[in-house]
Amino acid sequence: MVSVLIVVQVASVYFFFTDEDLVKTADITSGWLLHMIAWTSLTGVVMVAFAIWAAARVTKPFRNFSDAADRIGRGEMEEPLKEEGTAELVQASAAFNQMQRRIKRLIEERTRMLAAVAHDMRTAVTRLNLRSIEIESDELRAKIQSDITEMSQIMETALTFARDDSAKEPHQRVDVAALLKALTDDAQDIGDTVTYTGPDTLITSLKPISLHRAVQNLVSNALKYAGHADILLSVEAAILKITVSDSGAGIPEDQLDGMKEAYARLDASRSKNTGGLGLGLTIANDIVLSHGGSLTLANRTPRGLEATITLPL
């Protein structure tokens, strides 16, 4: 842009001084000097313009390259890069494509393995469930069946995380207030203390199954650590906010950030009594990110934890 302006400016100066009337009246020496200056600057400008153009031509493949790396980083698999440009670039592109193929193969293998494990595990657990009916002691049978239920829940959570279902679910128009109320009612119907505060109706576009899972995970955490959960829905300046809060012990400030990482749990001992795999928050976070939103955790005063999902409307 700047170079074009300079070219135009210099060119106009040059043509001004070569104007016939001016050449006649001007001193020959100074005319010659002006001529030289104009020529030199014009050449310089052309060279700068060429350099900029050449640099752009050389860097463009690099830009494509980094854009592609960026997209893969976000989990979008795509066509292999064109292997062109300088020898180094051809080599880098080839290496990049090979890496991409390898990642793709690893993901496919993982998905196949998960499907196979899931099928065999579900079959075995189904058998176990049916066998448990034979247990005569009511107490023992109830305990075994509750263990089986917990086992299958852990298994399904891990599979949900690994499959990353939310990436595949399409957006659709949903009454998100009705969704949160339904979640609250379902929890209350099985005896949990969950409340909902917010509008009766709020229609927006999102992934209903995934969002339900994200909020459900936050509610389950609140129930587990505090025995109750309060859901709040609000809209401020085109931002939709869903807050799940409790008045439990909260999370030590220095551990807040790490809680969203996979398999993180407040009690590092992974003791049994608080249960779970430590994937709930990670799954919720992934889902919210896939909506282009964010999940934040904060301690409340005087006590309690507040998990806030913010989504752009």
């Binding site: 899931a118 579900r122 058998r127 049916l130 009705a178 109320k181 099985i190």
Partner: protein, 236 residues
């Protein structure tokens, strides 16, 4: 309950599951046969008719979905599909191919029994029922278990609200008695002073925007039960 013993065909490639299911259903008063492939199932179906088929999706050779589709061309025996949890695609596909209900593996045996009884109960008097119902400015799809507004907006319902609405819709514009609705909405632990249904009903009316006094959509029929006013063409 019924005079004649009801028969169930179990189709699952896992022989142990077939055996365990047969014993379980046998104890609950059903007669159960099992087949491990779709071919075996066809041989048995040619020989006699069943009140219900329990069909596993994941089978070597012809899978449950393909078998269900093929079977539906000539046979209307109710089908309970066994799917893997979370695999939404299988579930919807199975129902669209003509299965009557689905249950995710691993299932709780009592849950299976409840589904089996529900399917037999609702398929025995009248044949195939509708899959979508419209009423007021609403559409209910019982395959996808979805309630939508006319403009397509999804309005999620709680399990209790959904069960109640589905039972009312299946009434086909006729009154559905309180006992039937209660059986649909009651949770695992039945409460003798069951107020659950009334709570679900008032929540449902609120979500549908149906005034409890005006009762444009859900009408209370004195001494009889409740009626969902279906739009023209959906009423039985």
């Amino acid at each position: 309950m019924t005079e004649t013993q009801q028969s169930i065909l179990i189709v699952d490639d896992d022989t142990e599951i077939c055996a365990l299911l047969s014993i379980f259903l046998g104890r609950k008063g059903f007669r159960a046969d099992s087949a491990h492939t779709s071919k075996d199932a066809e041989v048995l179906l040619a020989r006699q008719s069943y009140d219900l088929i329990i069909l596993d999706i994941m089978m070597p050779g012809e899978d449950g979905l393909q078998f269900c589709e093929r079977l539906r061309r000539s046979d209307q025996t109710p089908i309970l599909m066994l799917t893997a949890l979370g695999e939404e695609v299988d579930r919807i596909q199975g129902l669209e191919l003509g299965a009557d209900d689905y249950l995710a593996k691993p299932f709780n045996p009592d849950e299976l029994l409840a589904r089996v009884k529900a399917i037999i109960r609702r398929t025995s008097p009248q044949k195939q029922s509708n899959t979508t119902y419209s009423f007021g400015a609403w559409r209910l799809n019982i395959l996808r278990r979805e309630l939508r507004r006319d403009d397509g907006t999804l309005v999620p319902l709680s399990s209790g609200e959904y069960a109640l609405l589905e039972a009312l819709a299946r009434g086909g514009g006729q009154s559905v008695d309180r006992g039937t609705l209660m059986a649909q909405t009651r949770g695992r632990e039945a409460d003798p002073l069951d107020r659950t249904m009334d709570i679900q009903l008032s929540r449902l009316r609120k979500k549908l925007g149906d005034d409890a006094k005006e009762q444009r959509l859900i009408k209370t029929i004195r001494n009889s039960g409740y009626l969902l006013v279906l739009n023209e063409g959906d009423a039985a």
